[in-house]
């Protein structure tokens, strides 16, 4: 009996299958309260980052609200506690803290996402090639990875910072390179090796598939969950490292949560809790919130893709 499967119907079934597959995984992901909290927080930070240019263009006067060169002469002394005009007050230089906080969000997203993209790309190139091709490519590339494993990104970046002033794209890039070529490449390699030795790869070779076909259709999709987890954890690490560098003034002068915290602790007496809490607490909480958000998403991804963690 020849089966008639109309093209249109086939596409519908394909969609349904796709939904069943990703539906369960997305469902598992969304069923976790941690994931929802994480996503919601990321959403809030996203809105904050978007809000800054909008507010600058509409209600905020550039001279008074610019995060770096703004100054409000009508409210002295600085730092000034919150007022209806400056919802989070001003810092020691008379600049609006809320405006700074929003710009800092943008920098954090920039640092985190660039670092994650670079790290994932490099770890796949290095670890994937080593794991898939093996042999001398493996030995050579893993030699490179071994060197990078010995260089924890925050430490190396602090040393970089002593030698030259870094801007945030440099921080992001270096963090991405260091973590991508180091530990992440090693993990991607061992994962690739496991995938490569499964017999569906042999079946793909028997089908006539070359390396490109196998990497694209079998290896890369198999690596995706791992890469997603790496990406979110890289965001956390990169943002924390950037803050650390900015806090110690090892970066060029741009605004980030780290430099805000440094600014705040100038006017904050730690043990008596006297002074201007409104300068230091907003960036501190923002930093914690941002990192927790991505961490929670990472944990939730792990729960979905590593069945041994899954509670049935």
């Amino acid at each position: 009996m020849a089966a008639m499967v109309g093209v249109r119907r086939a596409w519908k079934q394909r969609m349904a299958a796709w939904q069943r597959r990703w539906g369960t995984e997305v469902g598992l992901f969304l069923r976790q309260p941690l994931a929802l909290i994480g996503l919601a927080l990321i959403g809030v930070f996203g809105l904050m980052a978007l809000a800054h240019p909008v507010l600058m263009a509409t209600v905020w006067n550039r001279a008074r609200f610019d995060p770096i060169v703004g100054y409000d002469a009508s409210q002295t002394p600085h730092p000034h506690p919150p007022t209806p005009q400056h919802l989070l007050g001003t810092d020691g230089f008379g600049r609006d803290v809320l405006s700074q906080l929003l710009v800092g969000t943008r920098v954090s997203f920039g640092v985190g996402l660039i670092a994650a993209a670079v790290a994932v790309l490099l770890s796949v190139l290095l670890g994937g090639t080593a794991g898939y091709f093996g042999g001398w490519a493996d030995a050579a590339l893993m030699g490179v990875a071994d060197v990078f494993v010995l260089m924890p990104p925050p430490v190396v970046l602090l040393i970089f910072g002593l030698l030259l002033r870094l801007n945030w794209p440099m921080v992001a890039l270096s963090y991405g390179v260091l973590s991508g070529l180091g530990a992440q490449a090693v993990v991607v390699k061992s994962h690739t090796l496991v995938l490569r030795n499964r017999s569906f790869i042999e079946a793909a070779r028997l089908a006539g598939g070359g390396h490109f076909h196998i990497l694209r259709k079998h290896i890369l999709p198999g690596l995706m969950p791992l890469l997603a987890a790496h990406a979110v954890f890289t965001v956390v690490g990169a943002v924390l490292t950037e803050s650390l560098l900015s806090f110690f003034s090892r970066t060029t002068y741009y605004l980030s949560w780290g430099s805000m915290i440094w600014m705040g602790q100038q006017s904050f007496r730690w043990f008596t809790l006297e002074g201007q809490w409104h300068v230091i607490l907003p960036p501190a909480f923002a930093l914690m919130g941002f990192c927790s958000a991505f961490y929670l998403v990472g944990r939730a991804l792990d729960e979905v893709f590593n069945p041994r963690l899954r509670r049935v």
């Binding site: 020849a2 086939a10 349904a16 597959r21 028997l206």
Partner: protein, 329 residues
């Protein structure tokens, strides 16, 4: 039809270096397959039987060129001429892949869990650029029904984890047959399946052989399975072929002491037939740099000094296409 050679294997060997350390170069080799000679005729099914680790899978993978031989020739008689499988490259290798396929032991491993059944079965068509999308869908649907996954439309866009072991192996069979190969290596295709579905899969493979004229090399460690599936049986021991004969001839008149030992472990379905039991000592080991004498010497109950002092016996015709590699039969 019986006389037309499809695959002609000459002096085929595969040696694996034994990993001793990262920097030390080893001169120890596992002789996984060693000087194997076999002619497979168009339309027949040859069983390859032997204990675990004797080189069955290695032989199968050599024949479909998943691994490269250390030595030897595999002449494959395709419609458009004879090719040497061992040296195929590029376009010629890709064309060869349309003629020869393999079915793997473990259907849980051989299907990509992230691909639908359709995508898995259509992969060879996709890679080889055969047909348009509607034609491929048509072909896959037809084939799924042929292998007993009916109605095809309810299986095509499922994922492997939504199928049972037997159904998965049927999918793997469909994938192997989608390019209409002439020769299929089946590597213990039923050994990982529930006993209840084994017969079904075996029957299917036999039907397909008749219907599509496929030639099988059927790898198994189970003589009963080989008897059901194959016209001829080759027995392997530690990388060497020790006996080759027509199925019934081999089962009723085994000559090599190893075959006789294997058979005395199998219950005889025919109560009128009496077989002398043969006991062998010890277990199978790895053929690492084996000494130049009969591979079976250590376990052979009838070995003598001649066996010890001479090289591994050649495979000789003992009459009626019954080949045995033993000095004492």
């Amino acid at each position: 039809m019986r006389d037309e050679i499809l695959v002609d294997i000459q002096h085929l060997s595969k040696l694996y270096p034994v990993e001793t350390g990262f920097f030390t170069r080893t001169n120890l080799f596992v002789h996984a397959v060693s000087d194997l000679n076999l002619q497979i005729y168009r339309g027949e099914s040859v069983g390859l039987v032997g204990e675990s680790g004797c080189g069955k899978t290695t032989t199968g993978k050599l024949l479909v060129r998943l691994i490269d031989p250390t030595e030897g020739k595999i002449a494959f008689h395709a419609e458009d001429g004879v090719v040497d499988v061992a040296t195929l490259r590029g376009k010629a290798l890709k064309r060869f892949r349309r003629n020869v396929q393999m079915i793997f032991q473990d259907p849980y491993e051989s299907l990509n869990p992230r691909m639908t059944i359709y995508d898995t079965v259509a992969e060879p068509l996709d890679v080889q650029g055969i047909g348009t999308l509607p034609e491929r869908e048509e072909r896959v649907a037809e084939l799924l029904e042929t292998v007993g996954l009916t109605p095809a439309s309810s299986f095509m866009f499922r994922y492997p984890h939504e199928l049972s072991g037997g159904q998965r192996q049927r999918v793997a069979i469909a994938r192997a047959l989608v390019v209409e190969p002439t020769f299929v290596v089946a590597d213990e295709p039923t050994s990982m399946l529930d006993v209840s579905v084994r017969t079904g899969v075996m029957q299917l493979m036999q039907e397909l052989a008749d219907k599509l004229g496929v030639t099988y090399l059927y790898i198994t460690h189970d003589l009963a399975v080989a008897r059901y599936m194959c016209q001829r049986i080759a027995v392997m021991y530690l990388g060497k072929m020790v006996e080759l004969a027509e199925t019934e001839e081999l089962l009723h008149h085994p000559q090599h002491p190893y075959t006789r030992a294997l058979l005395s472990a199998v219950p005889v379905p025919d109560p009128t037939y009496k077989r002398k039991p043969m006991e062998i000592k010890g277990g199978i080991s790895k053929p690492i740099n084996p000494p130049p004498r009969c591979r079976f010497y250590e376990r052979c109950p009838i070995a003598d000094d001649f066996c010890r002092d001479n090289d591994h016996p050649p495979l000789e015709d003992k009459g009626g296409n019954h080949f045995v590699a033993c000095y004492k039969v």
